[in-house]
Amino acid sequence: MRYFLRRWMQAVFLLIGVSILTFLFSAIAPGNYFDEMRLNPQISPETVAALRAQYQLDRPLPVRYARWVNSLLHGEMGFSFANNSPVAPLLWARARNTLLLTLTATLIAWALALPLGIWSAETRGRLPDRALSGATAALLVIPELVLALGLLILAVRSGWFPTGGMFSVGFEILSPMQKFRDVAWHMELPVLALVLSALPILVRHVRAAVAEVLDAPFLRAAASHGIPQRTLHYKYALRAAANPLISLFGFSLGVLLSGSLLVEVVMSWPGLGPLLLEAILARDLYVVIGGVLCSTIFLVAGNFFADVLMYWADPRIRTGAAAK
Amino acid sequence: MDRLLIVEKIEKRYGRAHVLGAKQEVTALLDVSFSIGRGSTLALVGESGSGKSTLALCIACLERPTSGKIVFNRNEITVLDEKQLREVRPQIQLVFQDPARSLNPRFSALELVSEPLLVQGRLDKREREARARALLGQVGIPQEKALQRAEEFSGGQRQRLAIARALSLEPKLLILDEALSALDCSVQAQIANLLMELQGRLGLTYLFITHDFAMAGHLAHEIAVMEQGRVVEIGAADEVLGTPNQEVTRRLIAAMPRLTAEAHAPRAV
């Protein structure tokens, strides 16, 4: 239990750290929403000053941070000047969509990467391994921006996929089943882009982890006891490779969250990506901070989940031998 | 007899601070005292985890004992600061168990052996090379191999290189930390002979750390037996081997593999 307590504390400290860090950067940043406003001749300088005072942007940094934490505790996460609304509800509506995309892509990518990676490791140096290595290398040199744009052009020219967005026109009047299918249809392209961009990395990591274990002395020892190959590969090798694979899970979530940000913008999926971009262009400070924090929460949660898996899979952690 | 090294009641504890828990302490050495006469060999025998290597690091001034004092060549070295220690260290040299790890694989034999001279700023480049070549000759490394890199040598030759490097600063005390343990029997014998020859020629003092009582008996004048961070028995080699006082010593001696079959229970055929 001390293990979880420690991990939990680490996660909390991490979130506090990230929020302070982003605040610090925002403080150094020249310009904010009202500076852009000041350029607008229709708004008088007095109005701007009054607004600044109203949102207490003229107060020192610690005060602003305290106020922001306070509003966070009240479920608001600060105020969006551009949208004239608290940040949290804005974020939540978008974060759901980002999560939907990211989690679906994570599941599919892992479901494909595990068998492919093991197969590749098993046939090390032979044809299947070489073919897979070639394929992953080919995918690896196509960055997701290029991939997403390419898929979009394909969609536009072929008409097989919707060219963006999350819903068809007239979504509101569809039955629940139709709604589900409509969203699923809109998801196909962005998920495909995400899976294709994460897959080569995952396959390569899985292959490396399993291949390393296949060379381990304890597998040779087990083979010398006559334990059959199937048991060796699928029970002994996978269990021993569990550790790096689980930490890879947290890492893959980070990759997919970043990827999702870009894919959302390119394919106009109403997730955090477009919201964040708009906020940056409008210098809508608290939305940016909120968005960054939100993504950190996802990642930290994912890593916490990985820690739980690790605890369950590795007795060395359970018995505290890995404490050092 | 003139004692080159006197170790008095040294203790070494490692503390490990913990974020949530209390501070854990591990005692590696407890009340260790002994001395070595100039030009003689003391063997320090014990099983793994008995604190032998920690003791070696403390004497070589690479770790500071928590308490106690070490007198080397009539100087108390436990009170010196880092800068003064740098002056003392060249006089006490260490040879490690695994030469593959104690020699930087990127260096050539010549670079390895002349490195201490370079660090100490002794001699100029040509003199350093001449001195290094002479040292290589002393430990039996053929001159034509002087430019090979460490990883191209065999285990025994690497240990010869490590000894040559240790000798380059003309130390008074050589600490051999399991220096023979990783080697094959025939190579062990070669290095053991080399060590005896060097001692005779240069008047070196050895602290020979080992778990092998046979080699300790062969090389050492005195033997100290360690267990769990303490020296439990110390005396002339023949006395310790012939009339062991302590249970550990007897156990270790009994565990010595012997060539003569009678030493073991005869086997029913």
Binding site: - | G156, Q188, A189
Partner: protein
């Protein structure tokens, strides 16, 4: 008596990525009788570990068995199918490795790892396997078998881990155990305990044992016969007392001389120099015509550099490959 294991003219070589062949074993022949202990004595580079792995066909991918035959209980293991090999490994031949800490799966309980070996070879109920596992562990841990069964490898000491490996090796009642430097990584007292365990199990289960080591004294009092490997070749084979006590091959002779004298010798002899073998072991990747030991040998003759010496029988049980004893 009919031999349990008969190795004939075994040749093994490692092939580097660039296709360079360096032989590891050349023309190795020997046999092991039922219930007999054969000591294999060799220094690093002699091919002794290669021999252990070759006997059960577990060599790494870059090694190749070039020719020879390994007859074991009536079948040639070099020509056996993979399934047949799986039935031999672990069931008829048990292996014990040098580094026990690396030879156990780090995240599976000891009991499970032992019972997996049983499961691989015997169709028995889970409960029966569990009983048998505990019984096996009691053979090596008389005191606390059930606690050990519930432990993970990292919770055990090196000596305990080695005992577990031995339990695995004897699990299915094999007729032969091959132990490759089983005590090299252990402390001297633990070393003796493990050797004592081998001695006990050998009597109890009438096992044949191949004990591979670089340390001659380990074999005294344990091995019935000793086979000496030098640079991939058998240089001498014979009863332990003869090979260790009055070695005939110049290499064996010099090797025995270089072991520090025991405590039974007078002290003044102990402080004298050891007799050593000059020079270094040969590089096997370089082709050689004559005796492998020729360059380091004090008794070398003209023909030594030209031809390989054949094995000469000193007696019915003792053979030496050296020209000193005739052609």
């Amino acid at each position: 008596m009919i031999s349990l294991l008969q190795v004939q003219d075994l040749h093994v070589a490692y092939i580097s990525g660039a296709g360079k062949v360096s032989p590891a074993l050349e023309g190795v022949s020997f046999d092991v009788l039922p219930g007999e202990t054969l000591g294999v004595l060799g220094e690093s580079g002699s091919g002794k570990s290669t021999l252990a792995l070759a006997l059960v066909r577990l060599l790494p991918g870059n090694a190749e068995i070039q020719k020879g035959a390994i007859q074991f209980e009536g079948q040639d293991l070099l020509r056996a199918r993979p399934r047949a090999l799986e039935r031999v490994r672990g069931a008829r031949i048990g292996l014990v490795f040098q580094e026990p800490s690396l030879a156990l799966h780090p995240t599976i309980r000891i009991g499970k790892q032992v019972s997996d070996v049983l499961a691989a070879h015997e169709a028995a109920s889970r409960a029966a396997r569990h009983q048998k596992t505990l019984q096996l562990l009691r053979e090596v841990f008389p005191a606390d078998a059930s606690r050990i069964a519930d432990s993970y490898p990292h919770q055990l000491s090196g000596g305990q881990q080695q005992r577990v490996l031995i339990a695995q090796a004897i699990a299915c009642g094999p007729s032969l155990i091959i132990a490759d430097e089983p005590t090299a990584s252990l402390d001297p007292t633990t070393q003796q305990e493990i050797l004592e365990l081998f001695r006990m199990l050998r009597e109890k289960f009438n096992l044949s044992l191949i004990l591979i080591t670089h340390n001659p004294p380990l074999l005294a009092g344990l091995a019935d016969r000793v086979l000496v490997l030098y640079a991939g070749k058998v240089v001498e084979i014979g009863p332990t007392e003869q090979v260790l006590g009055s070695p005939q091959h110049p290499y064996t002779h010099a090797l025995m001389q270089s072991v520090p004298p025991g405590l039974d010798e007078p002290a003044k002899d102990r402080k004298s120099r050891l007799r050593v073998i000059p020079g270094e072991a040969p590089n096997l990747a370089v082709l050689m015509n004559g005796c492998r030991f020729e360059s380091r040998c004090t008794d070398r003759m003209e023909q030594c550099a030209e031809r390989e010496p054949p094995a000469v029988a000193m007696s019915e049980v003792h053979a030496v490959s050296c020209f000193k004893y005739g052609e």
